[in-house]
Symmetry: C2
């Protein structure tokens, strides 16, 4: 720690899961800590609007400092490292000055979230608490009216960027599966599921819990592109879950 | 529908995810609907105390009717069928009489929850909404301070009652895994993870987010028994998630 960091009690860092999109899916705890934070930070893609901020916008107060974390749209290592190094340094200044900082995280902070990069840089130096949120995974299942996993189902969560061979192997043994991070990989995933005979068991969900939410069987979802906030849910047993212990 | 069901607008059935245990992890939406419900139903094991009810106890009003759903402690089909048939019939009476019914669900209603059995029996006859909640899966990761899944990790969620061969096959290809429904299967799972060399990567979580929460490396968790509300989280990469794009 620098002398400045030891001069007063450090601020606390809160990673707040703010849920999948519907502002009402915020937890009471996330709301309490959000209101208590002197600084509210959130990711933005290259300086664009922040989805996480939009979810809690109604609760932000004029006196709170806001800090946009510009996440570079790249899979290259160096620019991402630099962006998180810079963001962590800025958060550390506030924390060292005794200011509590809330970092807003879409869905849940530790379910494929970028919060982990800030956590990894700051958890050793300042008190950190992670507040779990409603993840897109269960939000999509609720929107579809279809259990995510039941009884002794295995559930596989699979990021779409993985190679076809890996996806095929993981899909083979799972009763239930969720394919996340679709984006530009969507046409390939769609073809793969068709080849595996899984299309009849697959449903496509876009922007779950938001007014523009879209729910369709995969066969009707179109073949072109999918936004980042979309997911495919697969359940091999269809509606057998309606009856217990079958 | 019976004539009674058509005589007035039917009540609405809400499956409310109430989160993993900490009452503050209730969502604003679940709280609003809970307060609006004329009837509040919740599962109890053979008539014992209801964990789901305990989570929201502070918000229940004297004027609300409470309805305990006695879930039989058995894996046999017939007694379970009968219990859910009886509970659905009782809920249907309230719904047909125009009363809104909230069913409390620990964690998330569609993540290995018993709500699906009521949903399957009532969704065709009455308006139903499922409100997703914070699941034990992300709550355990938050409590551990360890991302559940990151980047392009595959995540396998595996119920402990599955045979060893199935568990071994599903664990082999997953960077991250969660083993749920431990209970009496815990000693077998512990031995299996040891044999697979996974003990150093496994952590045991009991009653996450509650005051009596327990978090230990699996190696220190003891070998005897585990309560129903426990989970083992495995991540092969250890703390490599601290740095993005490695």
């Amino acid at each position: 720690m620098t002398p400045a960091e030891t001069a007063r009690p450090a601020g606390r860092l809160w990673g707040l899961g703010v849920g999948p999109g519907d502002p009402e899916l915020l937890t009471l705890k996330a709301l309490r800590l959000l209101r208590a934070a002197a600084v509210v930070a959130y990711p933005t893609l290259e300086g664009g609007a922040s989805f996480a901020r939009s979810i809690v916008a109604a609760h932000l107060a004029p006196g709170q400092r806001e800090l946009a974390i510009r996440v570079p749209m790249t899979t290259a290592r160096e620019p991402a490292q630099r962006a998180y190094d810079a963001a962590a340094a800025e958060l550390a200044e506030h924390l060292a000055a005794g200011r509590d900082v809330a970092v807003l995280c879409e869905g849940d902070p530790f379910f494929y979230g970028s919060f982990m990069y800030l956590y990894g840089r700051l958890a050793g130096r300042f008190p950190v608490e992670v507040v779990p949120g409603v993840s897109s995974l269960t939000a999509c299942a609720a929107a579809l009216g279809q259990p995510l996993a039941a009884r002794n189902d295995t559930l596989a969560v699979l990021p779409a960027p993985l190679p076809d061979a890996v996806l095929r192997a993981r899909l083979a043994g799972a009763e239930a599966a969720a394919i996340v991070k679709l984006g530009r990989h969507y046409p390939r995933i769609r073809a793969l599921l068709e080849a595996e005979g899984l299309t009849p068991h697959a449903r496509y969900v876009e922007r779950a819990t938001l007014p523009e939410q879209r729910l369709v069987p995969l066969a009707e979802a179109g073949a072109v592109a999918a936004p980042y906030f979309s997911m495919i849910l697969i359940h091999r047993r269809g509606e057998a879950w309606r009856w217990p212990h079958d």
